[in-house]
């Protein structure tokens, strides 16, 4: 698996193929949300700015926004989530990915936290 990078909003991102990135939410995020029951994914072709609202994830209790760690165009969504949103709880950084984004600015990726930095960040949240 390619290296994961993280945002302060608890999204992860990894290189899927060249300038296409795969995006989801972290294990910490899914543990805070609890049982996911619905996910609203972006439409393919949609342009999303870095930090823009990209998806909505709903647990039994509440709805939360998911933001895109980088700017680009949506080129794929994880259809498996509509039938089995629990994948986000069980496999947050693998089978529970949300969408794929093609970006013209691959340098954005390196500016995000790596796994060690993110682990420290989460620890700091208490």
């Amino acid at each position: 698996m390619a290296e994961l990078r993280f945002t302060k909003d608890h999204e992860w991102i990894r290189v899927a193929d060249g300038d296409v990135y795969e995006i989801g939410i972290s294990d910490y995020a899914q543990s805070q949300l609890g049982d996911v029951v619905f996910v609203d994914l972006p439409e393919i072709g949609k342009q999303i700015a870095k930090g823009g609202q990209a998806a909505v994830v709903e647990s039994v209790k509440a709805a939360s926004d998911v933001y895109s760690p980088v700017g680009g165009t949506v080129v794929g969504i994880n259809d498996a989530l509509s039938a089995d949103p629990g994948l986000i709880n069980r496999e947050p950084t693998t089978g529970g990915w949300f969408f794929k984004l093609k970006t013209g600015d691959t340098a954005q990726f390196a500016e995000l936290m790596d796994e060690a930095a993110y682990a420290d960040y989460v620890k700091g949240l208490g």
Partner: protein, 369 residues
């Protein structure tokens, strides 16, 4: 949670934390929203076996004196005079406009009434009762008692094992007796749509009782998150959301809680509005709503007609684990209240199709023996 220092704690606080509960502020108390099993599992466990809930934040009181029932009837539309000793009734405190100040349970005792009211309203409720009828009956707060709820199809088996006095107890009645070594009052009632008990116990005994109940193989601890999804599936109102001072008991579809005598006689605050709505029908009504897709429609979601005009608002909405889909309740004009009527729900700018539905969403399984 900046107001942490002002939070109150129930007698089970240490137990919740030792069980790994996620604690949140609710009505001024630190309360368990879920345990490590999670809301979904806790909900399903309650419907399959038995769940233990800490509801010690709720307000308990005695209203003492021979006139307690007659006096309290001046503040609520429920029929309290008809109650025999040990019988429990659901009713509402109404205001002069017929709005709902709180909903509550009242149980007849030989010395008056035992009351259970909502946590967020308890100070105002008790102040109002004292101010309005304090000269006719004496209000005695029971702040030194905890309240637990044991709910689910296995609750009666658990109680039969630990509390022989519970055997044969009817729905909506209270008995006083021992559960294990603990002196309790237990009412066969609850807020989940399942058979079960609400158990009042001295605060100093609460942890021992909770541990005894949790030691039973059928019983798991359940947090406020599942309490909310269970009551929503059961079609039960949450005060401050589905009912408040803007909603009358008739609009809220609580007509069943007002007896024929009280409908005719009135004699409670806002009786004129209630009687008018009984005669003419309310202009709007609380209804169940089933979204057709998978997207939950949360509290505050606009309900629209086929032309996109706003006709109402969702007052509770989420995911029903037993229904295995989204469910909601809200208020719509009476002309839209028929089950099966198509409506739209505006979720994140998109209008999603939904239908008005009868409630409960999950069938009630109260003990009717």
């Amino acid at each position: 949670m900046s107001d942490d220092e002002n939070l109150k704690f129930t007698p089970l606080d240490a137990l919740h934390r030792s069980l790994g509960a996620k604690m949140v502020p609710f009505a001024g108390y630190a309360m368990p929203v879920q345990y490590p099993a999670g809301i979904l599992n806790e909900h399903l466990h309650t419907r399959a076996a038995a769940g233990l809930f800490d509801v010690s934040h709720m307000g308990q009181a005695l209203l003492l004196g021979p006139d307690a029932a007659v006096a309290l009837e001046t503040l609520v539309p429920g029929d309290l005079q008809v109650l025999k000793e040990g019988a429990t009734r659901y009713t509402q405190l109404t205001d002069d406009n017929g709005g709902i100040l709180d909903d509550l349970m009242a149980t007849k005792r030989n010395d008056g009434l035992y009351l259970v009211v909502n946590a967020a309203c308890k100070d105002a409720d008790f102040a109002r009762i004292e101010a309005k009828i304090g000269s006719r009956a004496k209000l005695q707060r029971l702040d030194d008692r905890a309240l637990l709820a044991l709910q689910g199809p296995k609750a009666a088996e658990v109680m039969a094992r630990l509390a022989p006095d519970s055997v044969g107890q009817k729905f909506m009645t209270l008995r006083a007796g021992k559960i294990g070594a603990f002196d309790c009052w237990f009412t066969r009632s609850g807020y989940t749509g399942e058979d079960g008990y609400e158990i009042s116990v001295p605060a100093s005994q609460a942890e021992g009782l909770a541990k005894l109940l949790l030691d039973q193989p059928e019983v798991k601890p359940i947090g406020l998150g599942a309490r909310d999804s269970l009551r929503l599936e059961a079609g039960l109102c949450l005060y401050g959301h589905d009912i408040d001072t803007t909603t009358s008991p008739i609009e809220a579809d609580l007509v069943w809680s007002i007896s024929k005598r009280r409908r005719a006689e009135g004699g409670f605050p806002g009786a004129a509005r209630v009687q008018k709505e009984l005669a003419d029908g309310p202009s709007r009504k609380r209804v169940g709503i089933l979204p057709e897709g998978r997207a939950p429609a949360r509290e505050g979601t606009e309900i629209v007609d086929a032309a996109g005009n706003k006709i109402g608002i969702v007052t509770s909405g989420g995911f029903g684990p037993t229904v295995n889909g989204p469910i909601a309740m809200g208020y719509v004009p009476a002309s839209f209240a028929q089950a099966g009527t198509p409506v739209g729900l505006v979720v994140r700018g998109k209008t999603l199709p939904a239908k008005i539905a009868g409630m409960p969403f999950a069938p009630h399984r109260y003990f009717r023996g």
